[in-house]
Symmetry: C2
């Protein structure tokens, strides 16, 4: 699912990407405590194919998760919302976020350490 | 194109996303010199709608650029390759990269500082 380099190796398109871009709120104790279980939850979901995530300076982050199809995403969203509610609301962690669901049509790459 | 928070505000879907995930090679002098002009070049291209980019620890980065349609991406790719050739090959900057072209079908978000 995740290679050593942190980039995902995926099957041939088509598949789906959920692009989550965010700016984090100050104070991330609750976030740190909940983010790891959420990531583990995603990886247990049917249709999960991989995830890539970075957070740079100034709290801006991008996480792209990859899914076999749309029903997998809907099921994941339902479980994530449920888990987030139990964690008292992920909404509080972010000043600003954008979530985009996209169908990957083409993919290519290079890996010198394959 | 890019809001103060570093997240893009975009029109309603559908539009296209180019998801570029990479692990950078050691030594980035040439990269730093060429990356900024490349970003400016993208923003001048017809159909360009926005870009979001982060690079975290360990050299892993994600850049998502947004485009009105597929012909815009093809035209940008052609110009970027040309520019990269002049800059002696962006390929050398990365150990590993994955590039995915995806059609954004749905989008939603939250902005407490709109």
């Amino acid at each position: 699912m995740m290679s050593k380099s942190g980039l995902s190796r995926l099957p041939e398109p088509p598949y789906y990407a959920v692009i989550f871009t965010s700016r984090r709120s100050d104070g991330d104790d609750a976030y740190a405590a909940a983010a790891q279980p959420m990531a583990e939850l995603a990886q247990q979901q049917p249709g999960f194919q991989g995830v890539e995530s970075t957070r740079g300076d100034h709290g801006c982050g991008i996480t792209v998760s990859y899914w076999a199809d749309e029903p997998s995403i809907v099921a994941w969203k339902r479980r994530a919302e449920h888990a987030a509610t139990r964690a008292r609301g992920s909404e509080h962690w972010y000043h600003h976020y954008e979530l985009r669901v996209a169908k990957v049509e083409r993919a290519y790459g290079k890996n010198t350490h394959a």
